[in-house]
Amino acid sequence: MSTVIRAALFQTAWTGDKESMIQVHEQAVRDAAAQGAQVLCFQELFYGPYFCQVQDKAFYEYAEAIPDGPIVKRFQALAKEHGIVLVLPMYEEEQPGVLYNTAAVIDADGSYLGKYRKHHIPQVPGFWEKFYFRPGNSGWPIFDTKVGKIGVYICYDRHFPEGWRALGLAGAEIVFNPSATSRGLSAYLWQLEQPAAAAANEYFVGAINRVGVEELGDNDFYGTTYFVDPEAQFVGEVASDKEPELVVRDLDLAKLREVRDRWQFYRDRRPDAYGPLTAP
């Protein structure tokens, strides 16, 4: 059996309203499926602007229930129609006033597999996320999808190696890292941290970042979405830093075994010595 899967990432610019933003993403599902993509992940808070550039409670309205809200339902139907696994980074409302930065995972038959809630919430100029989100509290779930075991690690999470490791230990083969990050602030880290995480944990990483400048602030989101393999090599080219782009790449999951047979990081790690890391 072939171990090659065709995986996709989609970076785009804010269209100006939620409904057209959702439609752009629905079209991306069709475009990806037309090329035989079996899994697709969107950018962080995919159907909105990156509203964390300001602190305005009007944007609480973007939150909805997962999985019972309308957007998840809409994309469940689309996933089923095209037989594609979808990772949907969204704004989740558990109940009024209890909000999370979350990603829902839908299997290729349209069934809802679960969600990951972003653990690490920044609060710096241009990224006022603590105003909008409670820190994630749902652990490090791995989703056993039709194409393989998928983990999600959202945006600012990527600066913390512990979560990457937790997902690796739980068996992730691909970890998606949907983000919204801006030029000047993190561009030099963008092509450093996720490849390092992929190498350290010996799995594939798909990193997605939105593009463009939105009306809410000066953040210049620089796209450059990419897949990186367990040897920290980019799979194909890195996407545009300015234009919307669908990235479709073939990932050979057999590479995990090949690399892990060579470098036994999981065998040689020393959790017995890591006690201080978990001291509060």
Binding site: R6, A8, D31, A32, A34, Q35, G36, A37, G184, Q233, G236, E237, V238, A239, S240, D241, E243, P244, E245, L246, V247, V248, D250
Partner: protein, 526 residues
């Protein structure tokens, strides 16, 4: 960029011409029978200058990198002063100390030797009396010559490149100039390591490009091996790199060349405008070379691969778009995630080469691309012509020419023809044939003869009506609609045409003859 615009190369950063080892190997120095008695592992230290000093506190006079020559006349008999002397040279970062044996020290002094060994300072003794002046003259003149050569090379390269820039030369001319100085392949890439331009001897460049994936991934690169990189960027933004690949001269000169080249490229780009230009130019030269067939496709393979086009086990779809906007086409490709290259071949004629995995439905994806192009470009009526898919790279040039032929064949009457989203050879029928025969003198005189009555009056309107009428299969209502005239008005024009040409357009053969003549006429114009 790693250097500052406007400075004439910082000489302090230039690698000096000589190391301690090299100085000791000079013929005139060998005459003094030098012996290294300490710090033998440090002999590759650069010597910036040679300094003769008979002073106990010589350290305070140094600025680093000096080889200090002494007879030690002020140090003899004072072991504490000897140790301190070595220490002070070490603190001043002298490159070596050379002690002439003689009256002060008949043999290498142990205290100095041990002190030098401890701090890793090369200590050399000269066993034969030796005039220091000869050594300083020899070394100094070599150092000065090298620095002068570096400055004049730097200046010569800068003058040449500046001249090209102010003369409006294209990027390629700048790179050719750099390659002429470096005598090795020169490669310019964007941040994604996509090759934007190359220069140097073709076969050497191809060797580099063949292995490009691996080379590009070696993040830092090792200057010592002749791989010299300089960053391209300005105004706080980095956007690419220039690389000398396998430079065979000394590293300092290579770095100087790379830095001068980077400066020139930054200036060129700042004066030249848009950020995409180089990417476009690179795709354009590749697709133009492919389509022209002047260079065999196989030889272009390394360039295609280096330009980011996947080429192994792929299906290629050569397409030509008329009246499409290059940037728009590129956007649509990105939006759909289709790997491919876009480049304008001629005014209003753009080539698009898709490279798809073998398991894909190439025809369906080409149609998907064309229909999305229509949606995205709104009113703009771009005609997308495609050749049959190619599974062998060598067949791609023929494919591009076929697509261009199809696009040309329908160019004049795309409105009237009701073309499919992607036009193919089978859709152009007679037009395709006539297009191929357009240069034949007999076809030309046939067209003249048949259309004489309309051409001599130069009535463009009647000619246009005739064109539409025939293209729509003599559909009067459609023709009237396309020309925004009433049916009676159309009838009057058709009668006028028949009168001028002396034919009956209801007669199939006569109409066919006029149609062929008109196609031939249009083909000659196009």
């Amino acid at each position: 960029m790693t250097t500052t615009l406007g400075t004439l190369g910082n000489l302090d950063t230039l690698e000096p011409a000589l190391s301690v080892r090299q100085v000791l190997g000079l013929e005139r120095v060998l005459a003094g029978e030098p012996e290294v008695v300490a710090g033998a592992s440090q002999l590759d230290r650069p010597v910036r200058w040679v300094h003769v000093a008979e002073a106990a506190d010589v350290g305070v006079m140094l600025t680093g990198g000096e080889m200090v020559l002494t007879t030690g006349v002020l140090l003899a008999g004072d072991e504490a002063a000897q140790a301190e002397y070595i220490q002070s040279l070490h603190r001043a970062e002298a490159s070596a100390v050379v002690l002439g044996l003689g009256r002060a020290f008949p043999a290498p002094p142990d205290v100095m030797r041990r002190a030098a060994e401890r701090c890793g300072l090369p200590m050399v003794v000269l066993h034969r009396p030796f005039p220091f002046a000869e050594l300083t003259e020899e070394v100094q003149s070599r150092l000065v010559r090298r620095k002068f050569a570096a400055v004049s090379l730097s200046e010569a390269v800068r003058t040449a490149l500046t001249g090209l820039i102010t003369g409006g030369a294209p990027l390629q001319s700048l790179l050719d100039e750099v390659a002429a100085h470096s005598a090795c392949p020169v490669v310019v890439t964007n941040l994604a390591h996509r090759v934007l331009a190359t220069a140097g001897e073709r076969s050497a460049v191809d060797d580099v490009l063949r292995d490009w994936e691996r080379i590009a991934r070696q993040a830092g690169g090792n200057e010592g091996d002749g791989w010299i990189r300089a960053e391209l960027g300005g105004r706080g933004e980095r956007w690419g790199q220039i690389m000398l690949c396998g430079y065979r001269g000394d590293t300092a000169t290579g770095r100087l060349l790379a830095d001068r080249a980077a400066e020139a490229l930054v200036l060129h780009r700042m004066l030249g405008g848009s950020a995409h230009t180089w990417e476009e130019q690179s795709a354009q030269s590749l697709l133009t070379d492919l389509a022209s067939g002047v260079v065999p496709a196989r030889q272009l393979l390394p360039r295609a691969r280096a330009a980011g086009l996947p080429v192994n086990r792929r299906t290629f779809v050569p397409m030509v778009v008329r009246d499409g906007d290059t940037a728009q086409l590129d956007r649509v490709l990105r939006l759909l995630g289709l790997p491919g290259l876009v480049a304008e071949l001629a005014d209003g004629v753009t080539a698009v080469l898709l490279s798809l995995p073998r398991d894909q439905d190439a025809d369906a994806l080409a149609a998907h691309f064309a229909s999305r192009l229509r949606t995205e470009s709104g009113a703009l009526k771009a005609v997308v012509a495609a050749a049959g898919q190619r599974t062998v790279w060598d067949d791609v040039p023929a494919g591009l020419r076929e697509a261009q032929h199809v696009a040309d064949a329908v160019a004049d009457s795309s409105d009237a023809l009701e073309l499919p989203a992607v036009v193919r050879l089978k859709d152009v029928h007679l037009r395709g044939l006539i297009r191929l025969l357009r240069d034949d003198p007999q076809v030309q005189s046939f067209a003249e003869r048949e259309l004489d009555g309309l051409l001599c009056a130069a009535d463009e309107d009647l000619l246009a009506v005739l064109r539409t009428y025939l293209a729509t299969g003599r559909n009067k209502s459609r023709t009237a609609q396309l020309h925004h005239v009433s049916r009676p008005a159309l009838y009057r024009r058709l009668e006028a045409i028949e009168g001028r040409l002396g034919v009956d357009l209801d007669d199939f053969e006569q109409a066919a003859s006029v149609h062929i003549a008109l196609l031939a006429h249009d083909a000659q114009q196009g």
